[in-house]
């Protein structure tokens, strides 16, 4: 597959932020340590994916799903992640549900709103800008006269 090496790395800025938030204030993280953690994170993804895939194959499925990932964590002895992951999953599902409902609501609202309403709004904004420019010019003229 045509993946460039950097594609398999995670962005430095985000990794650094996560590390900083986890450690006490004022702790210095060497560049080497940061890069090592980043590599470790990529290896973790591969390991977790491979493990999760085994569970999917056991269930005769071709698509990895949430429970495969959770089972993988158990297998890899990262049980401590399971509760926060389940919470994140719940939050994600609620968010998806909320988005779906919101977009359905938006559709209904859009049908009610007319186009001319939006045109009026644009004209008003243009007028405001012109007024501001005129005021500035007047001020400049006054200053010159004083000099």
């Amino acid at each position: 597959m045509a993946e460039r090496p950097e594609d398999l790395n995670l962005p430095n800025a985000v990794i650094t932020r996560i590390i900083k938030e986890a450690l006490p204030d004022g702790v210095n993280i060497s560049k080497e340590a940061r890069s090592a953690i980043s590599r470790a994170a990529s290896v973790f993804v591969l390991y977790a994916t491979s493990c999760a895939n085994n569970f999917a194959m056991k269930g005769k499925r071709k698509t990895l799903n949430a429970s495969d990932v959770l089972s993988a964590m158990e297998e890899m002895e990262f049980q401590r992640f399971i509760v926060p992951l389940k919470e994140a999953l719940e939050a994600y599902r609620r968010e998806q549900k909320g988005k779906k409902e919101a977009s359905e609501q938006k559709k209904k609202d859009k049908d009610k709103k007319t186009d001319s309403e939006e045109q009026d709004k644009n004209r008003d904004e243009d007028n405001d800008e012109d007024e501001e420019r005129l005021e500035e010019e007047e001020q400049n003229e006054e200053e010159e006269v004083d000099n």
């Binding site: 995670l10 962005p11 996560i18 938030e21 210095n28 080497e32 591969l46 990262f78 999953l89």
Partner: protein, 129 residues
């Protein structure tokens, strides 16, 4: 939730994770046996990776020698990989560092050992993979 981090990717979704899902997906797909990945699995893997980074950083710091100097160094991480069962899978990519002189000495000793073995057998030296 205290551990819910805010971050956005191109689509403005995924406020539950900071790591970019697109990149996580690329890494996951580089695994040959994987066919497809459901969106929830992707989100959970990203979240798990964040937890992992936090876990590795704090563990290495707490057990490391950098603590007195308020610093996290590479050797703290290499030590964690070697000594902790949980992080054993990282041992190959986070090898401990040794002085060059020590390494040269080790190489020399190894060669001497192999020479002794050669004297006993009459076979060829096979290069190690």
């Amino acid at each position: 939730m205290a551990d819910v981090t805010v971050g956005k990717d191109k689509c403005g979704e995924q406020r539950l994770v900071s790591l970019p899902l697109s990149r996580i997906r690329v890494i996951m797909k580089s695994s040959p046996e994987v066919s497809s990945i459901n969106q929830e699995a992707l989100v959970l893997t990203a979240k798990a990776t964040e937890l992992f980074v936090q876990c590795l950083a704090t563990h290495s710091y707490r057990h490391g020698t950098g603590k007195e100097k308020k610093a996290l160094t590479y050797s703290d991480l290499a030590n964690a990989a070697e000594e902790s069962e949980t992080f054993q899978f990282l041992a190959d990519i986070l090898p401990k560092k040794i002085l060059a002189s020590k390494y040269m000495k080790m190489l020399k000793e190894k060669r001497e050992e192999e020479d002794e073995n050669d004297d006993e057998e009459s076979g060829n030296d096979e290069a190690e993979a």
